[in-house]
Symmetry: C2
């Protein structure tokens, strides 16, 4: 199975955690060699489950000394193969599943300290138990881990008001590829004492070290919440409504999600319990979420004012405000199910892109034209976090087309859409990261000096190139 | 004057910008060799004023090739000597004063792109002209530059609601010590495409490269604003009031400044036009600032609710709400003048520290005890951004003491206060940075591995050690 790592060396790694926590059989390892999208199939001789920072340190020290590649993987929810061991290699997997504690919650200082393997949903609950909010929220929150969220600078719908994971973290504890432990667990908002090492590790996708602990920011629980669903005529009108909402609500605007008619149609059709909230059809829809910290009345007044002004200005054709918590959840359920709703429609070619907010209407129009020209009959389902310029630009296959033939054109459609994204100075990976999937594409689109700077950092932090090699940036 | 840089080489540097923009005379250079606190007196053979990024690039390329040290200095408002050429050396000063343009304002995408030499007050005005807010606000805003604000990760009173400069920047254009130009001028909130190089340069105090351009975030202009001045019995009550304010107002809480009786007294006494806003005396005071984006009424309701609840809970002994814009400014003027108010009182020993917010009461009590024990009669004027845990811990000399003898104990008092700060896992430089002033102290308090990581970054970005050497971290 593993030409790369000798049995003696495997034994030395296993001895660090104890045999009970060193998995070696094919059966045990199988689920860890693949990922959710079925794109990658790796090989690995062993998965280690350390219990302490010191054990992680000993593992990485041995890895660097012996030139043994390792890959951190705990939740296994990543979408670009960053957590998957390489195909045909012998990367040893390191899981933080036993390092999953909430270490401390200080609601007065508004910080929570967690192990890198702590489950996101558990962190949310711990915050709530202390009357606070940890705003990061993802579909995978029941299994993804804080360390992974940090390594991929996770986003989600709460970015609009609260920022990405990067903005939610004050300090880190990291085990470096050489085994040293960097304790940067600081709880301070204002601290200008040297270079920002913390932000190097955040978003580095496990290629510069393993995040074993983090200080996270907590926020007040909102007292008021309003959710509305509006029908509009165009993406331009949606952008105008967003600007109005932004002005009226400031950071009380906690969600602004764009959806196309096609998306609402298939979700109402394919997902149980979801129905079109409006009576007439509209070309575009927006889900608006407002949360206020002082009172429920403020949220109500903001939403009412927003929709009134939106109607008056001609941006909004129709709208409904949820009148109960159940109705609020139902409206969000429409949005959250949209990607799943595409599955019964056949193949779906996906993108994870962002463009500057002001260029969203142009990008959407250009992408539609280009995609339809390349593939007549394609059914575009482009929806998402309009306020951040982050659109999940998904393409459902034409009705009756051959699914495999359609999916075989994935790369071709990616090139078309990414080309337009780059022409607007956008991002080809708004949320999910680079991993294996976009590593070569990144090297192709970034300047030489930028790739060189990244390689310099990588080489100086991971001189033996053992820390999740082949991901993000290549130094082979 | 400069043994270090030959006349021929100086001519080569001058030729890059043209003689008119290469200052060499003692008279012209004099103001650039010193800084506001009178702590440092440097020497330099020349000050260059490039007009373009390409000229900056040529300067740094030549500097690296010839091993010629350079120091970036434009506004000359830094407080830790980071911008001052070294004493007894021949650092060439590079000023971005000619690169001071606002390049672009996009109020729809909420971004502003500026040259590194753009004056902060001009950036604020440009945002305002487009109906937006750029929230960074400092006493030196009429002369400090965006590049310097970024290089020092400037803070100020707006951090509470908007974050530090780090949180206000989406992208950078940097000229590296070796002369390459990194164009990272991205306008995206969501972009996970490789390592976060941007945040390495922010706060690096000009030791990793020169910031020649930046993409800054804009915010809605607030519609409502309320300012109140409250009298309290203790720092514990102030902290309790802060938590109440935080819950009620969320990010509408745009200021929460703590002040001691002594500070209010001397400011009312020594500063023209400032008077004590309350009738009775209180041990502690808090200035509260609320800004709302939807309406003026919301700000009013929040402030009223906050003070009512504060009174009921016994945190607040007395309070006044400003009833006009002039009164709002007057209340802020009290706070902003407090440092100046210390001057007529004699010598002042200063600190720029932060501790986790929940430990502010303990820190204040411990520091008071320790300072009074070491120096009976010392008059402590500790005030500042309580919500961020950032206290300007200033000590005014005892009445009638000898000023020089008092100031001679600066280092001794720093050690006492910093020791307490570190015992609370706080920061010895909350806002101003490390520069020359705290370089050796930083190396003494940080772990070996952290210093090593910083040196690795410094060496790989600045192999010739020409980029503002002797600041932040030493690699000699």
């Amino acid at each position: 199975m593993s030409a790369g790592v000798s049995p003696d060396l495997l034994d030395r790694f296993a001895a660090i955690v104890g045999d009970k926590y060193a998995l070696r059989s094919e059966m045990e390892l199988a689920p860890h060699l693949i990922e959710n999208r079925g794109l990658y199939h790796g090989s690995s001789p062993m998965l280690l489950k350390p219990a302490t920072v010191e054990e992680v340190s000993a593992i990485l020290k041995l890895a660097t000394e012996t030139g043994t590649a390792v890959v951190p993987q705990t939740g296994n929810t990543g979408l670009v193969g960053g957590q998957t061991p390489r195909e045909g290699k012998s990367d040893i997997i390191i899981s933080l599943e036993r390092m999953n504690k909430i270490r401390d919650v200080d609601p007065v200082a508004n910080v929570l300290v967690a192990d890198g393997g702590a489950i996101l949903a558990e962190v949310q609950k711990a915050a709530e138990a202390h009357g606070r909010l940890f705003p990061l929220s993802l579909g995978s929150e029941g299994s993804c881990r804080i360390g992974g969220n940090l390594s991929t600078n996770a986003g989600g719908t709460a970015v609009l008001a609260y920022g990405n994971m990067r903005q939610l973290c004050l300090g880190l504890e990291v085990v470096l590829p050489t085994g040293e432990i960097w304790n940067g667990l600081r709880r301070l908002k204002k601290d200008n004492t040297g270079y920002d090492l913390r932000d190097l590790f955040i978003g580095a996708e496990g290629t510069l070290g393993i995040i074993t602990g983090a200080v996270l920011r907590l926020f007040p629980q909102p007292l008021g919440k309003q959710v509305a669903f509006a029908g509009l005529n165009s993406v331009d009108d949606a952008l105008a409504l967003f600007n109005l909402a932004s002005s009226l609500c400031g950071t009380s605007l906690t969600g602004f999600e764009l959806m196309p008619r096609f998306g609402v149609e298939i979700t109402a059709r394919n997902i149980d319990g979801v129905r079109d909230p409006l009576e007439s059809e509209h070309a575009w829809y927006v889900l608006i979420d407002i949360s206020t910290s002082d009172s429920a009345e403020t949220a109500e007044r903001m939403m009412t004012a927003l929709l009134e002004q939106g109607f008056e200005a001609g941006f909004v054709e129709d709208a409904v405000i949820a009148s109960s918590v159940a109705q609020q959840k139902a409206l969000w359920h429409m949005r959250e199910s949209m990607s799943d709703a595409q599955k019964p429609e056949g193949g779906s070619i996906k993108h994870d892109v962002s463009v500057p907010v002001s260029t969203v209407p142009d990008f959407m129009a250009e992408a539609q034209e280009a995609v339809m020209a390349a593939m007549p009959g394609a059914r575009i389902c482009a929806f998402g976090h309009m306020g951040d310029g982050n659109i999940h630009y998904n393409i459902s296959q034409p009705v009756g087309a051959d699914k495999q033939a359609f999916l075989a054109r994935w790369h071709e459609m990616n090139e078309i859409v990414h080309g337009l994204v780059l022409s607007h100075a956008g991002s080809i990976s708004a949320e999910h990261g680079i991993g294996q999937l976009k590593r070569d594409e990144l090297a192709a689109i970034r300047s030489e000096i930028e790739m060189d700077l990244m390689r310099r950092v990588k080489r100086s932090f991971d001189p033996a190139n053992i820390m999740n090699p082949g991901k993000v940036v290549s130094i082979d």
